[in-house]
Subunit: 176 residues, 2 copies
């Protein structure tokens, strides 16, 4: 049940319309909790009905018309409660690792090219994170808020670094 909380977080950072949220999910928040516009619109509807957010008065409630939302106190409380809740790490579900394991049984035809392809994808994702780091967290942040945000970004950087080094090792290993 993380999507509503991802949306609340994004809206607290800045009130937005559905499409703006979708854009931001493609960039920042979505790096750690991805979503599509369909899911977002549906969830916005539910959150509004539950009294956690509301449409800004200016907005005309018509189709095709932009509609901006802001978080209500109940929404902020809900989010704070969720943050304090313990939650175990999700079990891993990774198609590439699974395919490699399947390849051990039916043959690794094409694996090498696929690993190289993933390598470039992860390299470009890492470059994107590095740019954000340069732009927003250099020099190192001092406020508590920004230190937390920087740690999240470090998570992304370290995760991509893990993939790059694992892929590099695997490619070398299969070549040899």
């Amino acid at each position: 049940m993380s999507l509503p909380h991802a949306i609340l977080t994004a809206l607290l950072e800045k009130p937005s319309s559905g499409l703006e949220l979708t854009r931001r999910f493609d960039r920042s928040i979505g790096y750690f909790w991805s979503s599509t516009h369909q899911q977002i619109y549906r969830e916005l509807g539910k959150l509004e009905q539950a009294g956690r957010i509301r449409a800004l008065p200016a907005a005309v409630p018509a189709r095709g018309q932009k509609k901006e939302y802001e978080v209500l106190p109940a929404g902020r409380e809900e989010l704070a409660a969720w943050v304090a809740l313990p939650e175990d790490p999700r079990p891993v579900r990774d198609p590439l690792l699974l395919r490699m394991r399947a390849a051990a049984v039916v043959g690794a035809e094409g694996m090498d090219a696929e690993l190289r392809r993933h390598l470039t994808l992860h390299e470009s994702q890492l470059a994107e994170y590095r740019e954000i780091e340069e732009r927003n967290f250099t020099p190192a942040p001092t406020s508590d808020e920004d230190r937390l945000r920087y740690l999240v970004l470090r998570g992304g950087i370290d995760l991509e670094t893990f993939w790059i080094s694992w892929l590099t090792r695997s490619i070398a290993d299969l070549d040899g």
Copy 2:
């Protein structure tokens, strides 16, 4: 659409009943594609109906009776085709990183304890992987199949190592 392929892989490694598969998903295959027995039974039914697997003749088709499955040629072909197919990495969806980002907005109450809790979880998962490494891949494997399986396990080891180092850094950073 990875679950059926995870099941085909597991059944090729060793024909099994639904419950045996469930057990194996709790240990080996499930480290990279987790699942529950409900999903597994449902998927076994579909795979059987699609002619990719079949129940071993010995099995009585009654409730409460053990029913073993083996993979048919069509199932092996299906799996080989899937392995050769390109598939992009999944977008990340991690509740802990998301909660940390939310904490930047509503306050990091309780974050420290939660990070420490995750640290011990990841440490124990790493220890489990290390045991498997010791047991099955020491000395280093020489066959192609086992080299692939070892790379998959290395993926798990490196992933846990990433989490441990990120969590350790984050805990230190929030303390300071």
